[in-house]
Structures are given as C-alpha cells and as structure tokens.
C-alpha cells in the first residue's frame, strides 16, 4: 500500500508540474492546485498511514488508543489545505484580472517589462587606445 500511495503522490506532483509549465494562465493555476494537493498528501503520508480510527479520545478514557491515526500531520495538513485554497483562489482572481487588464491569457504576451529593453546595448564606436 505504501507503494501505491507513493505512486499517487508522484502522479500528483508530476502532472501538477507539467501543467504549471504551460503558458495558459488557468492551466497554471490548475497545476498549482495539483501540486498543493500532492504536497499535502506527502505530509499526511510522512506521518505513517495505516491506522483507520480517528484520533478522537472516547469519553471516559484519558489517552488515545494506540492504534489511532497520527494526529500531528493531520493538523499540519489541515492548515496547509486552507492556506492552499486561499492562495489558489487568489491566483484565479489574479488570472481573471490579468485577462481584463492585458486582454490575453498567454504569458508570452504579458511582456510589459521586457519592452523596456536590455540594460546594456552594444556601444557604437568603440574607443581605441594609442601607443
């Protein structure tokens, strides 16, 4: 089962990266979402999966049963999911506004900075030495 989980994480990361390398803004956001999910799965996976009962202490007992799931990575992953969602939502809105401002979704055409030119232009007429 560990192999299956590792394979799933790898698929998430690989496909996410593939989509992030696209030049279309929305596809990049989807790639970001996939990468985020993959990373969260990795966090959960690192805490050793296998236990099926949730880390909730039954009434009357003071400590968690030994075969309960690991609570710490769950807390980390929960935080990560919510922040990832906020980030992805922001990215989606950004893509929308970019389209509205620049009229394009292809990042190749978002070259306002490049139009400023290169800092060093080959100087015309080189100065020679004498002697």
């Amino acid at each position: 089962m560990t192999l299956v989980y590792a394979l799933t994480i790898a698929a998430y990361m690989g496909c996410g990266l593939y989509m992030m390398l696209s030049r279309h803004a929305v596809r990049m956001i989807l790639g970001l979402a996939l990468l985020t999910n993959g990373a969260i799965f990795l966090i959960f996976f690192a805490g050793r999966m296998g236990a099926t009962s949730p880390p909730v202490i039954p009434r009357g007992i003071d400590a968690l049963a030994a075969d309960a799931a690991n609570a710490l990575p769950q807390a980390l992953a929960l935080t990560a999911i919510v922040i990832g969602f906020a980030l992805t939502a922001f990215a989606a809105v950004l893509a929308l506004q970019t389209y509205r401002a620049l009229g394009t979704l292809d990042v190749r055409e978002m070259r306002a900075a490049e139009s400023l030119g290169a800092p060093d232009a080959p100087s015309s007429g080189r100065v020679k030495s004498d002697g």
Partner: protein, 135 residues
C-alpha cells in the same frame, strides 16, 4: 438563476447548512469538526443563497460586510489569547472555567474567530465574483 425550485428551497437549504456549520463549530473540540470546517460550510451556505437569490440577498443575510466579519474574526481570535497573557504570562494559553456544569474556555472564542475569518474571507471575493454575472 431563475430556477423556481432552487429559489423556493434556497432559504431552507441556507438555514440547514448554516445551523450545521455552527453545530460543527461547537462540537469541534471533542468530536471531529472545528472552526475551519464550520467556516467552510458556513461560506457554502451563503454561497448557495447568493447563487439562488442573488448576491444582494446573501449580503443582507450576512448582516456585516465580509471584510468586516474577517476583521472581527481576527480580533476575537486575538482577544481569546489575552487572558492567557494576564494570568499565565503566555499569549494564547487558553483559560478554562465552569458555567453551570459545562466546561467553557477561551478555545471556543478562538474557534469562533477562525470561523468568522474563513466565512468572511471566502465570501469577500466570492460575492464580488458572483456579482458581476451575465454582463
């Protein structure tokens, strides 16, 4: 959206989901649940209302501006940590007391703050996004 069915049942759905979200919030400390999940459900409730009856209705149902709600949430979460500063000299050390046999503590205030922040945050841009519909 002009679906009659949705319009009719939207308010019922809204109430159910909202109540559910509050219940999830309150039980979070001892059962699966908590501020984040409750907040997401609460945002879903308002989103349903907005989709069915329009953003204005949803905004009025929310009573406050979403960003204001977010700020209140942050403030409440911050305030829940101050008693710890006064007694234990450590911020966010939660204090507990008994009220009519039920144990109450500042954790519920913190969770409430989380709830408000999530609801307010998600709704702030979601309302705007839905509002510019059909142009």
């Amino acid at each position: 959206m002009q679906s009659v069915v949705l319009t009719a049942v939207a308010r019922i759905f809204f109430t159910i989901i909202l109540t559910g979200s509050v219940w999830i919030l309150l039980r979070g400390h001892n059962e699966p649940g908590g501020g984040f999940i409750g907040g997401l459900f609460g945002a879903a409730a308002f989103a349903t209302l907005a989709l069915a009856l329009g953003v204005e209705t949803a905004r009025r149902a929310l009573l406050l501006h979403p960003v204001v709600l977010m700020g209140i949430g942050l403030f409440v979460a911050f305030a829940s940590g101050v008693p710890g500063l006064i007694t234990d000299a450590s911020f966010l050390t939660h204090q507990w007391g008994s009220l009519a046999g039920i144990k109450l503590g500042t954790t519920i205030a913190f969770d409430l703050g989380v709830y408000f922040v999530v609801v307010g945050g998600v709704l702030s841009f979601m309302f705007r996004l839905f509002a510019e519909d059909a142009r």
